[in-house]
């Protein structure tokens, strides 16, 4: 809400070049926030004529001493006095700045309100009662400022009159809060002793605090820097929608950072497609000439027809954001149900949304206690750091690179449940964009399924070496082919001989090996074939990646033959070599095979014949919609 105090200080005056700084004022309940705000309004000449006299009269009538906090209370109740109030935003001016002060209510729901209000702040004033000292909520607010990336914090130690303006008391509090904030990576821009009620230290250094040499509150506010201009950052235009109301195909969105102009070469992330901006469209006049900068809601047309969708990010080639399916974030959690490892969520990064899974809770903190709780879950109103994997690739920046695109919100059941800052982005393969325009097959999937009598699928055999994966895979391949289908075997070892010959057996290389297998298999599946993959694929996370890539086409079969049986078989002699120590990084001898937890099918080949196992697999493929149970005349439907 905007408090428009007329006529002394109009809301952001048009045409001025005064920098605007948004500050949030936080602190423990009763440490004097409203008193300081009232005082600040008065000292900066922001109160309408007669307001002060009126308040004095009200106080006198009630037989109470004058209280600055009455000012805000009065503003709230006296709605018909020509002042429109907003308890969350108050505007006033210092010598060189327009200040938008965001009040963060200190009540039970404070976190939600504070986040809502303070998420846009450039700086903060943290208030501490000199008598009470640093309290839980002081620490909690300090932590939240750190969490929100607010780096400029002026600390005021209020009610100095209650401690006889003692320099020692001030120093003790100053040291304590400075140490706390420094621990969070925040250096206070000033720590100021004040008495908001009497005005010491607010706009003037009085005799009471003659020992204090630093800035007053007003001077400290004057020193706060506005956020780095977004226009100076790399171009980020998240796509809100594509409109085709007439013969133009307009890509619409708001420029979050940087700027653009017709003729710019741009790249559309995460796909990495390249185009040129043909025009910048507008209404009622179009097209627009001139550079369009951060903050503008624009519409552009491109020099070629590309598949673009809501959530894509348009950037300049050379300074594009990274494409990722994995990111780490520092988040605050507002939902009743704690956030736990394995939770399925919806993540929004600008207009882009993606399903996501919490891979790990790396830290969970009660911001009041500042104790790291167990790394299992992040409770309501707590904060933490998480590692999330996304089902769709997104383009994102770390928060430190771009505050606008480096933040996300988390939705649970259609309601915002948390939000946070992107700490790091695990870049995918297309971090350097190239001019890729995928070519679609000439055939539709249903044309192929009509011929093969099955849908495309990725059948993924995982299990210990010598468990029988390749044997079963080949049996399945033979059977599907005999029935007129189109199976293709992708054996892990075979592909390592060619496509993946550049890869070794480090964890990273193994992950990449699996990713490539999954990409090739998925390509085949999309073209109607049944890709049969036989690969040890020991890491659960790698298989999860494969499932994400293949999505609904994925069928996992765990060949769960007991380890001793596998070693006894040892058809390739691997176990023998591994026991002798001549084969490194061999899965089977160690305990590094992670069993699937929810495979579509589990087969123990020590208790089944190959034909029985093939029957089971065939049945599973039927019940999960890959194989058509009966001959369907699909051709008739085409």
């Amino acid at each position: 809400m905007n408090m428009i105090v007329t006529p002394a200080s109009p809301a952001t005056p048009n045409g001025t070049t005064r920098p605007q700084v948004r500050i949030v004022i936080v602190g423990h309940v009763d440490h004097g926030k409203s008193t300081l705000v009232g005082r600040l309004l008065h000292e900066t000449g922001s109160l309408p004529d007669g307001k002060l006299e009126m308040l004095k009269a009200v106080s006198a009538r009630r037989g109470m001493p004058f209280e600055w906090s009455f000012l805000l209370d009065a503003l709230q109740t006296e709605r018909d006095q020509g002042i429109t109030i907003d308890t969350t935003q108050i505007r006033f001016r210092t010598n060189s700045r327009d200040i938008v002060l965001i009040d963060a209510p200190g009540h039970a729901e404070f976190l939600r309100n504070m986040i809502t209000g303070a998420s846009q702040a450039d700086g903060a004033v943290l208030i501490i009662d000199a008598l009470e000292g640093v309290r839980d909520q002081t620490r909690r607010h300090g932590y939240l400022l750190h969490l929100l990336g607010v780096k400029q914090v002026a600390v005021v130690v209020n009610k100095m009159d209650r401690v006889d303006f003692g320099a020692e008391r001030f120093k003790a509090i100053s040291d304590e809060i400075s140490a706390h904030l420094s621990g969070l990576g925040v250096t206070p821009t000033a720590v100021i002793p004040i008495s908001a009620r009497d005005g010491d230290g607010v706009a003037a250094r009085t005799d009471h605090i003659s020992w204090y040499k630093g800035p007053t509150v007003v001077e400290a506010l004057d020193l706060l820097e506005p956020a780095r201009p977004l226009e100076a950052l790399a171009l980020r235009l998240p796509v809100q929608a594509i409109y085709k109301f007439d013969d133009r195909r307009i890509v619409a969105g708001r420029i979050e950072s940087g700027s653009l102009i017709a003729g710019d070469e741009i790249v559309i992330m995460p796909a990495g497609k390249i185009a040129k901006i043909k025009t910048v469209e507008s209404w009622p006049m179009t097209p627009v000439a001139g550079r369009q900068g951060a903050g503008r809601s624009v519409g552009i047309t491109l020099d070629r027809e590309l598949f673009i969708e809501r959530g894509d990010i348009i950037a300049h080639a050379g300074s594009a954001p990274r494409e990722t399916r994995r990111l780490r974030a520092r988040i605050f959690w507002l939902h009743d149900k704690p956030l736990a490892k394995g939770d399925q969520l919806l993540v929004r990064c600008g207009p882009k949304e993606s399903r996501a899974t919490v891979v790990a809770i790396e830290k969970a903190v009660d911001p009041g206690e500042l104790s790291s709780t167990e790394n299992k879950a992040i409770g309501r109103n707590h904060v933490g750091e998480i590692d999330i994997s996304l089902s769709n690739p997104i383009a994102a920046d770390p928060y430190t690179d771009n505050p606008r695109t480096g933040r996300l919100v988390i939705e649970v059941s259609g309601r915002i449940a948390g939000g946070g800052l992107v700490l790091s982005v695990d870049a995918g393969q297309r971090a350097v964009p190239v001019d890729i325009v995928p070519v679609e097959s000439a055939l539709r999937p249903d044309e192929r399924s009509a011929r093969y009598r099955h849908n495309g699928a990725v059948v993924w055999f995982t299990g210990l070496p010598a468990s029988g994966k390749s044997t079963l895979a080949k049996a399945l391949e033979r059977r599907l082919f005999s029935n007129g289908g189109s199976p293709i075997l992708l054996d892990g070892d075979t592909l390592r001989a060619g496509l993946n010959s550049d890869l070794g057996f480090s964890a990273a290389d193994r992950s990449e090996n699996i990713r490539r297998l999954a990409e090739v298999a998925t390509h085949l599946a999309r073209n109607g074939h049944i890709a049969i993959v036989a690969a040890v694929s020991p890491a659960r996370e790698d298989r999860a990646t494969a499932r994400r890539i293949a999505d609904t086409a994925f069928r996992e079969i765990h060949v769960a033959t007991p380890a001793d049986v596998c070693e006894e078989r040892d058809p390739k002699g691997h176990y023998k070599k591994a026991r002798a120590g001549t084969l490194q990084s061999f899965t089977g001898i160690g305990n590094d095979y992670e069993k699937p937890q929810a495979a579509e099918l589990v087969i123990d080949t020590s208790t089944r014949t190959v034909a029985e196992a093939a029957d089971e697999i065939e049945q599973m493929l039927k019940t999960t919609g890959v194989l058509f149970d009966e001959l369907v005349d699909l051709a008739a439907n085409i």
Partner: protein, 264 residues
Amino acid sequence: MDHLDQLEAQSIYIFREAFARLKKIALLWSLGKDSNVMIWLARKAFFGKMPFPALHVDTGKKFPEMYRFRDHYGKEWDLDLRVEPCPPIDAVDPTLPPAARSAARKTEGLKMALAKYGFDGLIAGIRRDEEATRAKERVFSPRGLEGNWDVRDQPPEFWDHFNASPPQGAHLRIHPILHWTEADIWAYTKRENIPIIPLYLAKDGKRYRSLGDQDITNPVASTATSIDEILIELEQTKVPERAGRALDHETEDAFERLRVAGYL
């Protein structure tokens, strides 16, 4: 970007989010200065074409100038205009004070229109600076099945991320000009040359600052005969915008009761 540019860009962003994320939306056109600015902004957002209906919930008691304005600009702006009637006065809560009761007809008319068309989003031109309960609003504000507003349980909304999934059968109110002030509206109307209803300009020492139904809206003392003069007047006046709206002043909570029940 100047102040008006910033306001405009933010509103356009909100319009585009609403259009992208909801299935069936409409803009509530009350014919007043705020909703005229909204239509202008919508046409900017969608490059000249407002791709959803303008809904006028008509009490039948507006000023003749307002009806003339509607009929003229509804055509000129190529709006998909839907005019929906309100139920008679005896169909609404008899415990409300008279003017509020009269206004509550509009809430009922709105509910009927919602049921008729199945809108899941209604774009409304309220502003935070108008009135204290409106100041508490979200940009995407969920309404219950009865159209009611739960001021105590509003979803978190930050970083321009909006909650856009109303429960089945309920709807959202979208407020694209929540962050504007009365002075902003006039400055923008002047800059963009948006047509206005002449009732806003002073005649015989009086003008309307806020237009509602004839029977419950009164003019305020003013000599402002142009938008420039209105802007000067707004810098100096201590009279609140809705001073001429009878329903705001009947009892302390009349307006809050109306809003909780679904009034704009």
